[in-house]
């Protein structure tokens, strides 16, 4: 049984409602994780939490104090996330990690800042280290600018004949930022932007959009959305035989778990951009993969890696600071360099964005797979980030 349930049972049994944060003892530090175990994002939340739990179990201590981790289940509701964080911080917690989606992260970040804590999360929204950057929070994955630049630029370079582009975009804030960035790259390289089809959040049926895309006769189809919607679009696009004469590029992909959802027949020949890949060798990834394989007997997927990464960042920062005081940790984390899941990673001081590799991958044919998880090969690893100024970050 993981730490969170144990704590919850011990604490929750004595009082009505929420998991109790054990009184901070001299040799312990309380850390809370904000993940959704129920609600529509439950799938993501559970794996993220497991990643964090595995990391804390591995590291055990931060700045010499034993890590006491508690999960706050926000049930997919940003309001509930904020309330539980309010509650926890009212009980003395200062160290918060994790989020299941950007709405929750942005909301919790404001709350943690207002109450003088530190928050390390994995939101994909550009605003987290852009217009809404704040001194109390740190973000691990690269966002839409990174995804587009690190995917499209090497792809275009290796495929000079791919001139005509069509995109299918989710009509929401994140999709729009992917599209804006993609259009900028297409224009810069002098390629042709044939058009774009928006779809709404929660859409399941893409045959119409795919038909419209095919009618435009593109060389490349860019899929600009996230989550299940990415899986559905690519699956349906391939079922329409799009791969025969169109290259498919998916700049925002979560890697292994989505590859498994698709299966190798669909993945074969498609280009993906991912924040993490288990096949990358490096000291950080070796540690992570060992722990994950011991626990799950499988390869590490992006969600576990994310959950691990935010926990690792906290531990590394605390260890470097030698203290758990918020201003000490914050100062230590700004400019912190460590061996993370994607290799050497650095926390940029100006906007608290982690500078790390983003990978361009191409799906392999089933016959070329060396094992059941070897769905794709890495073509390029790039660190591509907007400057804090360009991102609109003004950290006061």
């Amino acid at each position: 049984m993981d730490i969170s349930r144990r704590t919850a049972l011990l604490g929750g049994a004595s009082l009505l409602a929420s998991p109790m944060i054990a009184r901070a003892q001299a040799n312990k530090v309380d850390v809370v994780g904000v993940y959704s175990l129920s609600g529509t994002f439950a799938n993501v939340g559970d794996l993220l939490n497991k990643g964090t739990v595995m990391a804390f179990e591995h590291y055990k201590t931060a700045a010499g104090k034993q890590i006491n981790y508690t999960l706050l289940d926000d049930q997919g509701d940003a309001g509930r996330a904020v309330r539980r964080v309010q509650e926890a911080m009212g009980q003395g917690v200062r160290h918060v990690v994790g989020c299941t989606n950007s709405a929750i992260a942005l909301a919790v970040a404001k709350e943690v800042q207002a109450r003088g804590g530190i928050y390390i999360h994995m939101a994909g929204a550009d605003e987290a280290t852009g217009s809404q950057c704040n001194k109390a929070s740190f973000r691990w994955p690269g966002a839409s600018y990174t995804a587009i630049r690190a995917t499209l630029e090497p792809f275009i370079q290796a495929n000079p004949n791919a001139k005509r582009w069509y995109s299918i975009t989710g009509q929401y804030v994140f999709g729009e930022s992917l599209l804006t960035n993609a259009r900028a790259v297409i224009q810069e390289k002098g390629l042709t932007n044939l058009g774009n089809s928006y779809h709404s959040l929660g859409e399941r049926e893409y045959s119409g959009y795919i038909t419209a895309a095919m009618a435009a006769n593109p060389d490349v189809l860019a899929v600009l959305n996230f989550g299940n919607q990415t899986v559905d679009v690519v699956r349906q696009a391939v079922s329409f035989g799009l791969k025969r004469n169109v290259k498919i590029v998916v700049p925002w992909c979560t890697g292994l778990d989505q590859y498994q959802a698709w299966g190798s027949d669909i993945v074969d020949g498609v280009y993906f951009g991912v924040n993490y890949w288990h096949g990358v060798d490096g000291p950080g990834n070796r540690v992570l993969s060992e722990v994950v394989r011991a626990k799950t007997n499988g390869a590490t997927n992006y969600l576990q890696a994310c959950g691990w990464a935010v926990a690792q960042m906290f531990v590394e920062g605390a260890n470097k600071a030698g203290s758990l005081d918020i201003s000490d940790i914050t100062k230590a984390m700004e400019g912190l360099t460590y061996e993370g899941p994607t290799g050497t990673e650095t926390v940029r001081a100006e906007d608290h964005q982690v500078i790390k590799n983003y990978y361009l991958m191409r799906g392999k044919a089933r016959s070329a797979m060396r094992d059941a998880d070897d769905f794709a090969e890495i073509l390029q690893a790039t660190k591509a980030f907007l400057s804090p100024d360009q991102a609109g970050c003004k950290m006061g």
Partner: protein
């Protein structure tokens, strides 16, 4: 389906009981923020309780007005320097206006058609919010909102306790207001409409107008709750206008019982506390709530509070008070 049958006892014992409960809540519950959440959703549930219990209208669209109130309050906070009280009232008024419009369209139908209309509008409202992402923040919602003092610079809301006091006061007033309306001649007409719409019409009442007014008030309550939610949390997340919010408010109203406004408080309390307590033990707590709903609808049509009232009545007078049968169907 239970109805506002027991409201007559409301101003006496129950009003004071409500005040006592609201005062005691932050001390009884493990945290004052939990108490604030409970109070917010009590008003939200009250909007469903009012409509279903008094008028017999099952609305699966109250979440839309909750969302209008939430986003309305957020926009007011961002673009003006209004105090919290004015913000909440203005946002609730916006929600009431929206409800009047939706109500005007929806009351043309009754029964299952009416329910479906509220469903359709709830869905459309959600997609409209997503489409207007430049204003509403889309899937990210609006965050980092200020929490200005209550009125004219007085009543700072910097501590969780002062926030709770403010919200609890509004909650109390909203309950009293609802009771006043239910006991007024207006309320009697609503009850008559619920019991026999054709007859009320034959008696000369403009049934449609009354229903629209009732829906507007229901929207006002839901919007009030949404605005309170925004002030409480300092953010307006997208789930405040999702169809799930409409479902949640209905669930709370049913669990508590639609026979009296207190049912809304009980239902909201039950849901919020259960969600909070159970979710750490078993993430599938929604299943328990669902079973409870079925049990209540089938065996305890007065809901939890209504059943308590029945027991009290039985104990007091040795005879059973029967709630009138449910709404007229379409």
């Amino acid at each position: 389906m239970s109805t506002f049958s027991s409201y007559r006892s409301f101003p006496d014992a129950t009003t004071s009981a409500l005040a006592v409960v609201l005062v005691a809540l932050p001390f009884v519950l493990p945290s004052v923020t939990l108490a604030s959440e409970l109070v917010v959703f009590a008003i939200g549930a009250l909007s469903c309780t009012f409509l279903l219990g008094l008028v017999g209208l099952l609305s699966f669209g109250q979440g839309l007005f909750f969302g209008v109130g939430a986003y309305g309050a957020a926009l007011i906070l961002i673009h003006t320097s209004a105090g919290s009280l004015v913000t909440i009232l203005a946002a609730a008024a916006m929600a009431a206006a929206a409800a009047a419009i939706v109500g005007f369209l929806s009351v043309r139908r009754r029964g299952i058609y009416f329910v479906m209309l509220t469903l359709a509008f709830a869905q459309m409202g959600y997609f409209a919010m997503l489409a207007m992402k430049d204003i509403t923040g889309g899937e990210n919602g609006l965050t980092g909102l200020p929490r200005p003092p209550v009125f004219a610079g007085l009543g700072a809301l910097t501590h969780s306790h002062s926030v709770y006091a403010f919200l609890a006061a509004i909650c109390f007033l909203a309950f009293v207001l609802t009771h006043r309306i239910a006991t007024s001649p207006f309320g009697s007409v609503l009850r008559a409409i619920r019991e026999n719409e054709v007859r009320a019409d034959a008696l000369g009442y403009d049934v449609r107008w009354f229903k629209i007014m009732a829906l507007a008030f229901g929207g006002f309550l839901a919007g009030l709750a949404g605005a309170m939610h925004t002030i409480f949390l300092g953010l307006a997340p997208p789930n405040t206008i999702e169809p799930e919010m409409s479902e949640r408010l209905v669930i709370m109203a049913i669990i508590g019982g639609t026979g009296s406004p207190i049912g809304a408080l009980i239902g909201a309390g039950f849901y919020v506390l259960l969600a909070d307590f159970l979710s750490s033990l078993w993430p599938r707590w929604l299943m328990i709530i669902a079973f409870l709903m079925i049990a209540i609808v089938l065996f305890l049509p007065n809901g939890l509070w209504g059943s308590v009232e029945l027991l009290i009545a039985r104990w007091r007078s040795g005879r059973v008070r029967i709630a009138p049968p449910g709404a007229v169907d379409g």
